[in-house]
């Protein structure tokens, strides 16, 4: 979006007409309210950016079908000329005409028409800008004859039911009337009532020279006669009665009457987007003298930010649209008790309710004052608007407020997201990082670990998912129209997916859902649509509502990373392995809970499949998913296990207190989860989990080719275990039945060496603080132990530790175990079976973090890491 510059924000409001009482749609579901339909259709307007057009910023839904639109706004408009009552010089008229036509041509290209062109819609700053509104109703004096002839319809029936949409040429007529008014210096047809005016316009068809007739009618024939020929010519062309003879805006732009004017304007070029095949900096021209760029010191930095950013910050700084409009008396509502109906029929039709005047359209635009926002931000230093990314040391700008910001970072996320200054800094930072994407990807990852500003989340996620290239072309190349067998299922699922959200429940939202899902299904022939894919699509679609291609690209990148092969036609082996590893993770982190759940037979298969298949999008509302996924996207593919365990732990008390039936009931409609706590705890769990513990045979195979130079930083936590080079010490695949038999996870010898810091090549790189504390427990016999063992391991032979019925015996070695309770306990033995049994016993008596060394002691023998204790003296 363009920077704000000297524009202002304007807001106006209207009501969508209420639906006729209780009608159901063809699918048997209740109809979508009109306001939601409009809201969905409106979104596309946000993308229409052109220097001659006012930028639409936002639309919000108020109570009772009220809609409020926020757009770029200027105080002055063409109607100012009219108020002054002067004629406008012909050159200016041509300029205005040309600029308006440029704007019209642009929106026509996007398949829209203005329909309501009028003097106060043509707003001015240094150059003329035009705002357009897609209301299906115009202003009576400016209506083109064919529009009148085609009949009227009510304001907010929305386009769907409009009898006939108008073509682009209707705007040319309106422009003609507008220009005529400018030339004549007075308004047309103001005196008579509406039907007289309309009749007059219709009768113009019989006249030969409409311009002359109009001039005569308004007694300004002399003024019009004096106009230069090219202006007169333009007027005549605009005010051609028959649409077929009237030129379109595009044709008119090329007309010779503009020969003098058009040379002053360079054609508008759409800026290159983040994801495209062309070079983003191709048109970048630096001035000769670089200091030209920073001439004036006391610039208003805020106005250099994009309009939507300013609006977002305005909202954060306490802006309330409804309040602004109420203060200007645009919204005047009667007390509800005065507008109650008297009588309501059985089918819900109500009677005896007067039409509320406050529901009428008042097209006044209210300027939103930015004072409060600039006051709030007056302490933010100018440097903060242009942070230097090269400086790796300080990502946050060093200024007076930096200490304050550092303090803000420690506050809860919810508060940070509502903090105006903090969000300003974060948005600027992410905006710049994205501009430097993918070059600054590493820094992006680092900053994303702090938090992601909600306004930029869509693009930030795309960056975290390594989206690159011309995604639009790729998306366009996918056939999304031809019917496929999955259509029926998709059609059934969409109206049930996150429908509390206005965007996703709008018909536009449904259509976009359908296209993105179909594109995914068609472009992944080896995978199929499983129910749940719709939920998975929802967050991406919501964030990139106007960019289906990006939503599709994100989803396509997300699924192989976290849900590799989950959408196979026969995915049972993948899911079964996943769930088994999950139950091992429960046992690893919370043995007490695991014991209870196993006892009552409440296994993950009963509740966790929708969790993982949809990556929790099926169980949480969107705003929670965003916070969860902000972290999930930073972790590797085993992070979801930790989230699952964290959710279980939040419901721990209730699960422990209840039996099977209550647990099923509890999970059938998951209770509220504190998502910030869940994220915090899952990170903690993740840090305690040895990487190889979540090894899955069916996980995504390691990438064949290494990423290009800007690959994400391969830190311990973000890289997948599967991505590590495979060695002899890695874990080996295990048959599902064997895996199921083991309560505790296995870890690889590699991990053990790393965690015990037994490395052959001296001290490891990682600091000790970041690692889980570990204790190796050798359960071989004393003799075997003395022949060679890992340094630092304790020897507790199986037979001495447990009684035959599984009780931990009171003996000195058991005491050692108790002392190390809480550490990661790695059980080492000759035979895997005995190690597994030992671990199971430990879990049974509620020892947390128990795992087994994969392959036993034999794995370690070739490494030469085993030590023989020096004989005791």
């Amino acid at each position: 979006m363009r920077p704000l510059k000297d524009a202002q924000l304007g807001a106006f409001t209207f009501f969508a007409s209420a639906l006729p009482h209780d009608v159901c749609g063809s699918n048997g579901l209740p109809l979508t309210p009109n306001s939601i339909k409009i809201l969905g259709r409106f979104q596309i307007l946000k993308t229409v950016t052109h220097p001659r057009l006012c930028q639409y910023v936002d639309i919000t839904r108020g109570k009772h079908e009220r809609l409020i639109v926020v757009a770029e706004h200027y105080e002055s408009s063409l109607s100012d000329f009219q108020k002054q009552g002067k004629t406008v010089c012909p050159d200016k008229v041509l300029q205005v005409a040309f600029e308006v036509l440029e704007g019209l041509e642009f929106i026509n290209k996007h398949g829209m028409v203005h329909r309501a062109l009028t003097a106060h819609n043509v707003l001015m700053d240094s150059e003329v800008k035009m705002s357009y509104v897609d209301f299906p109703i115009g202003y009576p004096s400016y209506l083109a004859p064919e529009v009148i002839a085609q009949g009227s319809f009510h304001l907010s029936d929305s386009h769907d039911e409009a009898p006939l949409p108008s073509g682009p040429k209707t705007d040319v007529w309106s422009l003609g009337v507008l220009l005529f008014e400018l030339c004549a210096g007075r308004r047309l047809l103001q005196n008579s009532d509406i039907s007289e005016r309309l009749k007059f316009i219709l009768t113009l068809g019989c006249m030969d020279d409409i311009v002359t007739v109009l001039a005569e009618e308004h007694g300004c024939l002399d003024t019009i006669k004096e106009l230069p020929e090219n202006v007169l010519e333009l007027l005549r062309k605009c005010l051609t009665f028959l649409p077929s003879k009237r030129p379109t805006p595009a044709e008119l732009l090329c007309d010779p009457v503009f020969n003098d004017v058009s040379c002053f304007y360079t054609p508008f070029q759409k800026p290159v987007g983040l994801f495209s095949s062309s070079l983003r900096c191709a048109h970048l021209e630096l001035p000769e003298d670089i200091s030209d760029l920073c001439k004036d010191d006391d610039e208003d930095y805020l106005s250099e930010r994009a309009i939507d950013e300013v609006y977002h910050l305005w909202c954060l700084a306490g802006g309330d649209l409804e309040k602004e409009l109420t203060n200007k008396e645009i919204i005047q509502s009667k007390p509800p008790i005065c507008t109650l109906p008297n009588f309501v029929l059985e089918d819900g039709e109500s009677f005896g309710q007067g039409r509320d005047r406050s529901f009428l359209l008042d097209d006044t635009t209210v300027t939103l004052s930015l004072c409060q926002l600039s006051n709030r931000l007056k302490d933010v230093a100018g440097e903060a608007y242009y942070p230097l990314l090269e400086d790796e040391q300080s990502s946050l700008p060093q200024s007076n407020s930096s200490n304050e910001l550092l303090a803000t970072v420690t506050l809860p996320l919810i508060i940070r997201e509502r903090d105006t200054e903090y969000q300003l800094i974060r948005i600027i930072l992410f905006d710049r990082l994205l501009k430097a994407y993918p070059y600054k990807k590493i820094l992006m990852w680092k900053e994303a670990r702090v938090d992601i500003p909600p306004l930029i989340r869509g693009l930030a996620w795309a960056a975290l998912l390594n989206i690159e290239g011309d995604i639009q072309a790729k998306y366009d190349g996918i056939d999304k129209d031809t019917p496929i067998p999955t259509d029926r299922q998709i059609e059934v699922d969409i109206p049930r997916c996150h429908q509390y959200d206005e965007l996703l429940s709008s018909p536009q939202g449904h259509a976009k859902f359908r296209r993105v899902l179909k594109a995914w299904v068609v472009s992944h022939p080896d995978l199929v649509y499983w129910q749940g894919l719709d939920s998975l699509c929802a967050p991406f679609l919501y964030l990139n509502f106007n960019n289906e291609a990006l939503a599709y690209a994100c989803m396509s990148a997300f699924i192989p990373k976290y849900l590799y092969n989950f959408f196979l036609k026969d995915n049972s082996h993948v899911i079964q392995e996943y769930l088994t590893v999950f139950s091992q993770m429960i046992a690893f982190h919370d043995p007490e809970l695991s014991n209870h759940l196993n006892e009552i037979g409440f296994i993950p298969d009963l509740y966790a499949i929708p969790w993982f298949l949809t990556m929790f999008t099926h169980v949480f509302p969107l705003h929670k998913i965003f916070h969860l996924w902000d972290t999930l996207l930073l972790g590797n593919s085993s992070f979801p296990f930790c989230i699952g365990v964290a959710i279980l732990q939040q419901l721990r008390d209730r699960l422990l207190a209840n039996g099977f039936n209550e647990c099923i009931l509890l999970f059938s409609d998951l209770p509220e989860i504190d998502i910030e706590r869940c994220v915090r705890e899952s990170i903690n769990l993740f840090c305690w989990t040895p990487k190889s513990a979540t090894y899955r045979q069916h996980a995504q195979p390691p990438k064949t080719a290494a990423d290009n130079g800007f690959s994400k930083p391969a830190t311990y936590y973000t890289s997948d275990y599967q991505d590590m080079p495979k060695t002899d010490l890695s874990r080996e695949a295990l048959a599902l039945c064997d895996l199921k038999a083991e309560v505790s996870p296995r870890i690889s010898a590699e991990d053990l060496i790393d965690l015990c810091e037994l490395s052959l090549a001296g001290p490891t790189k990682r600091s000790k603080a970041g690692k889980p504390k570990i204790i190796a427990v050798d359960i071989r016999t004393v003799e075997d132990f003395s022949r060679g063992h890992i340094s630092g391991s304790v020897n507790i032979s199986f037979s001495t530790a447990f009684s035959p019925d599984g009780e931990l015996l009171q003996c000195p070695t058991a005491g050692i175990l108790q002392n190390y309770r809480g550490r990661v306990i790695v059980v080492i033995s000759h035979a895997m079976k005995s190690a597994a049994m030992f671990a199971a016993h430990l879990v049974k008596v509620n020892f947390p973090r128990v795992c087994i060394l994969d392959g036993g002691i034999n794995k370690l023998k070739p490494t030469g890491l085993l030590t023989v204790p020096s004989p005791q003296i």
Partner: protein
């Protein structure tokens, strides 16, 4: 390749022809396109490339020519349609006047600029004034004034009752005497004459009192409104609030004469009630409050004298929210006649008359208006049905017959609404029409009464009624056929339906938290009440208190 949608008559199929050279071959691509084109050109282009395996070097060429073609044809279509419409006017197929009138109407009805100026409404002005005053220090005075008016009315009413009682006693003794003489000196005719004389006397007395009451309430209402307006003007005139405060205080001290304990004072009975906080919604959850109360339906309406604990507070609460956007509603089950002559309707009317309504017309006037509206609605309906005679009405036959017999009656599932400022906890009363069917054990979710409940909740949504009281068993009084299984079955049905409607409401109003009170008749047993209160959390998901307490 194209879905054959022939929905609008204006949609036509046109053929897009594109020629290109591939090596030495000259190829022609012909695509039938449906106009107006509704799909994305980029998508169409991508599909054509894919389907016909078109070489990539003509990709851009194809795109330009495709979009040019579509643009050109669309413009032609627009022009044709537009000129057709103009032609219709010149040939006289369409009437110019009718057309322009339609335009005018739609302008007048929808835009402020062209709308008729609004005539100032006294009611709304008064509403604004009152709302302002009740939220100022003057509220106490207002309430005291209202209460004093109430006291004087109730004194009048008790006087009336006394006099009627006396008359009845006198007449009874007289009748006894007459009966004694029957057969001796007096004949049957004489007895009848006496009886009719008694009846007339009673009528005269009642009418006298009714007119007196009406007069007094009229005077009270006028006085009150004048006083409120004056107070408001005074407040506005002088910003010197201390002086006004004194004035208010003087007023209040003058008016707050000790309220003596009248005989009609409401005796607070031990209520059984239980509250629940619930969450609704699959992913996004909204919180609502539910309450199960065992009470008489009119307990929510009866105005009580100050003194009993909380009465004044409750009164203040009701007054504060009268013109706000959090109203309280009550569902009253009535029969199919719009009047207040019998049963619960009469009891309600009695309660509504106990205190002057200073804001809205009295119940009788409101009911008269409703009666007019009902007739109007019937007329509208029948004219609409005549327009579309083919509408299948297989199930509605007996119903429509009923309506035809007496158009002023309402049918089950319909309801009328009355507004009150003088009831203790309620602003809006929904008079929902039910028939004897609700007493039977086998009503379903499609029953008119249930559909009526849904419409009531819908009105609650659109008019900011945030608290609504619903009779859980759809009856106000218990009778023999209402056994325990009957009650449980009925309660389950209503709970489930209301739950469904509340979830539906979330999509109407974006999930505003509300309170729904389920009312059960006073006559049900305590065990029954607890059975019902156990049922509620099984149907609604009660939010747990555990999540608040468990902190690791």
């Amino acid at each position: 390749m194209k879905k054959n949608k022939c929905k609008a008559s204006s949609s036509t199929e046109k053929e897009f022809v594109f020629e290109f050279k591939a090596a030495t071959h000259k190829c022609v691509l012909k695509v039938p396109l449906q106009f107006p084109v509704e799909e994305n050109i980029n998508d169409l282009h991508g599909r054509l490339m894919l389907l016909h395996k078109i070489p990539c070097y003509i990709e851009n060429e194809l795109k330009t020519s495709l979009s040019n073609f579509i643009e050109r044809e669309t413009t032609l279509d627009y022009d044709r349609e537009a000129e057709l419409a103009l032609q219709r006017l010149t040939t006289g197929d369409a009437d110019v006047n009718q057309l322009t009138n339609a335009w005018t109407r739609s302008y007048v009805e929808t835009t402020l600029e062209h709308a008729w100026p609004e005539e100032p409404s006294w009611d709304e002005d008064f509403a604004d004034v009152y709302h302002e005053l009740i939220h100022s220090p003057a509220s106490d005075t207002l309430l005291n004034l209202e209460h004093n008016y109430f006291v004087s009315i109730s004194e009048l009413i008790s006087e009336r009752d006394m006099e009627i009682k006396k008359l009845q006693e006198r007449q009874a003794t007289e009748m006894d005497k007459v009966m004694h003489e029957l057969g001796n000196t007096l004949s049957d005719q004489d007895v009848n004459a006496v009886a009719s004389q008694h009846f007339d006397a009673q009528q005269v007395l009642e009418n006298k009192w009714a007119s007196e009451l009406k007069q007094v309430t009229g005077i009270q209402k006028q006085e009150y409104q004048e006083w409120v307006i004056k107070l408001h003007q005074d407040l506005q005139k002088s910003n010197n609030s201390s002086k006004i405060n004194e004035e208010i205080k003087v007023q209040s001290s003058q008016l707050s004469e000790p309220a003596d304990s009248g005989s009609r004072m409401f005796e607070a009975q031990p209520l059984l009630e239980e509250s629940f906080t619930i969450h609704l919604g699959a992913q996004l959850k909204t919180m609502h409050n539910l309450r199960l109360v065992r009470a008489d339906v009119l307990d929510f309406c009866k105005h009580r004298r100050h003194g009993s604990s909380g009465t004044k507070l409750r009164r203040l609460q009701t007054a504060l929210s009268l013109y706000s956007s959090s109203l309280c509603g009550l569902v009253l089950l009535v029969d199919n006649r719009v009047n207040s002559y019998s049963g619960i309707k009469r009891d309600f009317a009695t309660v509504a008359k106990e205190c002057t309504d200073f804001h809205f017309p009295c119940l009788e006037e409101q009911l008269d208006e409703v009666q007019q509206v009902v007739l109007y609605a019937r007329a509208q309906r029948s004219s609409k049905q005549k327009e579309q005679p083919e509408v299948p009405r297989n199930g509605n036959d007996d119903k429509s017959k009923n309506v035809e017999r007496n158009p002023s009656n309402i049918i089950p599932g319909e309801f009328y609404i009355s507004r009150h400022s003088n009831l203790s906890e309620v602003h809006v009363v929904f008079h929902l029409c039910v028939d004897d069917n609700v007493r039977s054990g086998n009503i379903t979710a499609r029953d008119p009464a249930i559909m009526g409940l849904r419409n009531i909740l819908k009105v609650c949504c659109s008019h900011d009624i945030t608290t609504v009281t619903v009779p859980l068993l759809l009856v106000h009084d218990m009778s023999e056929e209402m056994t325990i299984p009957w009650c449980l079955k009925r309660a389950e049905l209503v709970f489930k339906c209301v739950k469904g409607f509340m979830m539906e409401m979330a999509s109407w109003d974006g999930g505003i938290s509300r309170t729904v009170q389920f009312l059960v008749p006073k006559s049900i047993s305590e065990e029954m009440f607890y059975q019902l209160s156990n049922m509620l959390p099984q149907i609604f998901r009660v939010s747990s208190t555990l999540t608040l307490t468990s902190k690791h």
